[in-house]
């Protein structure tokens, strides 16, 4: 018997949704009106980014997946109260960041590396090893940051949110967020420099 086709999301249209704000707004409005396919398309559009953010915040795959799942359920529940004057992305990341914060406070950080890509079982070429080592170093450095700094750094430099959007997402003021990002950058630079020097010594 042939294996049934793997699960795939059916998109609302033949074309994959772009991250364009017009299309996103249309999807949000359709989802608010009860179009479940539009909501599925929003999940499809943001799933990977949400998982990335949650992995960096929680450093644990299963915790991150749980946070992402819970976030989308909360988004679905709160969708009727969402007003379009507010940008969707900061609204989504506010829910996700809150969820990550509560998960982080419940279960303090575990000493696990962020799981990215595939880690080879055996040593391969040096460039690949270096790339993995670099990512592990960054993951460790990121894990040393206080939660607020890590969150601000990720929203700014990884998710590319503006400071106004970050303010909407976190509830913190723009100056405070700039300070957090600066401190995070300083700490990351310092940590990585020390790490490299320490390894050379």
């Amino acid at each position: 018997m042939s294996r049934p086709p793997a699960l795939q999301l059916i998109r609302p249209s033949a074309e994959a949704p772009s991250s364009g704000s017009a299309e996103r707004s249309l999807l949000v409005r359709s989802a608010q009106a009860g179009d479940v396919r539009a909501f599925a398309a929003l999940v499809d559009m943001y799933y990977a980014r949400c998982l990335r953010f949650a992995l960096h915040m929680l450093s644990n795959r299963s915790d991150a997946e749980e946070a992402v799942q819970d976030t989308f359920v909360r988004v679905y529940r709160a969708l009727p109260s969402y007003v379009e004057q507010e940008s969707f992305e900061p609204w989504l990341f506010r829910i996700l960041a809150n969820r990550c914060r509560s998960a982080g406070s419940r279960e303090r950080r575990r000493a696990e590396f962020v799981e990215f890509g595939e880690v080879p079982d055996r040593a391969s070429d040096h460039r690949h090893d270096d790339a993995i080592a670099w990512r592990e170093e960054i993951a460790l450095a990121l894990a040393t940051l206080p939660t607020e700094q890590r969150e601000a750094f990720l929203l700014r430099h990884v998710e590319d949110l503006s400071y106004d959007d970050m303010s909407a997402a976190t509830g913190a003021g723009v100056s405070a967020l700039k300070m957090r990002v600066k401190r995070a950058c300083d700490a990351l630079r310092s940590w990585l420099t020390e790490e490299r020097n320490g390894r050379r010594d």
Partner: protein, 208 residues
């Protein structure tokens, strides 16, 4: 205070921007959880509506009983016209006579109909999947919970089956094969309101 995006920060950000590999099964589970949330909300709305309907019936019955009580009292007191305001008796009498008696009966009928409507019926769900290791069924009747109803395999025929108790009415459901593949029941008509972009089948229970 502006961002200090030097080469180190740029390299860090570039490494962190790599998107993690998404697990399709988990992505599907997210939508299952959302569907379950929608079902919970729908159930809550239905429960609230039933409560309001019941409260309305009780209220109507209580109002009717009150009116009947007043009417009888006024009927009794009307024999003593000197103690009764004339308008009160004439206003309440016709209304109470017509409303009071059917109202309690209507409440009883509603209650009886509700009791009959929620009585579940056993329904057997069957899927032919000889190569599968695990099959479960998800639907509006189990909150789209992948662990609620697991099918049992008949080794001889390769058929998976489960008997579930379903309330009379229309149900949408699908099978989850090996915790990762979502498929509708090929024997049943496809749901037109495919849930969250996934195919579902329609089952009518208790209807000819």
């Amino acid at each position: 205070m502006d961002d200090e995006t030097d080469e180190t920060i740029t390299r860090i950000a570039a490494a962190l921007r790599q998107l993690p590999a998404a697990d399709p099964a988990h992505k599907a589970q997210v939508l299952v959880a959302v569907a379950a949330e929608r079902e919970r909300a729908r159930e809550a709305r239905m429960r609230a509506a039933r409560r309001w309907r019941l409260a309305g019936s009780i209220g109507a019955a209580a109002a009717a009983a009150l009116v009947l009580f007043v009417w009888r009292r006024d009927g009794a007191t009307s024999r003593v016209p000197a103690e009764t305001p004339a308008g009160a008796a004439t206003q309440s009498t016709p209304a109470s006579a017509s409303v009071s008696s059917p109202a309690p009966a209507m409440g009883t009928q509603l209650a009886a109909r509700d009791a009959g409507a929620v009585a579940p019926l056993p329904v057997q769900l069957v899927l032919r999947a000889p190569a599968a290791h695990r099959v479960s069924v998800v639907g509006d009747f189990n909150g789209w919970d992948t662990h609620a109803n697991t099918l049992n395999r008949d080794p001889a025929s390769g058929l998976w089956s489960a008997t579930v108790a379903l309330r009379p009415g229309r149900h949408v459901y699908a099978f989850i094969v090996d915790d990762s593949v979502w498929m509708r029941d090929p024997r049943m008509p496809q749901s037109r309101d495919a849930d969250f972009g996934r195919p579902g089948s329609v089952l009518l229970v208790g209807q000819p």
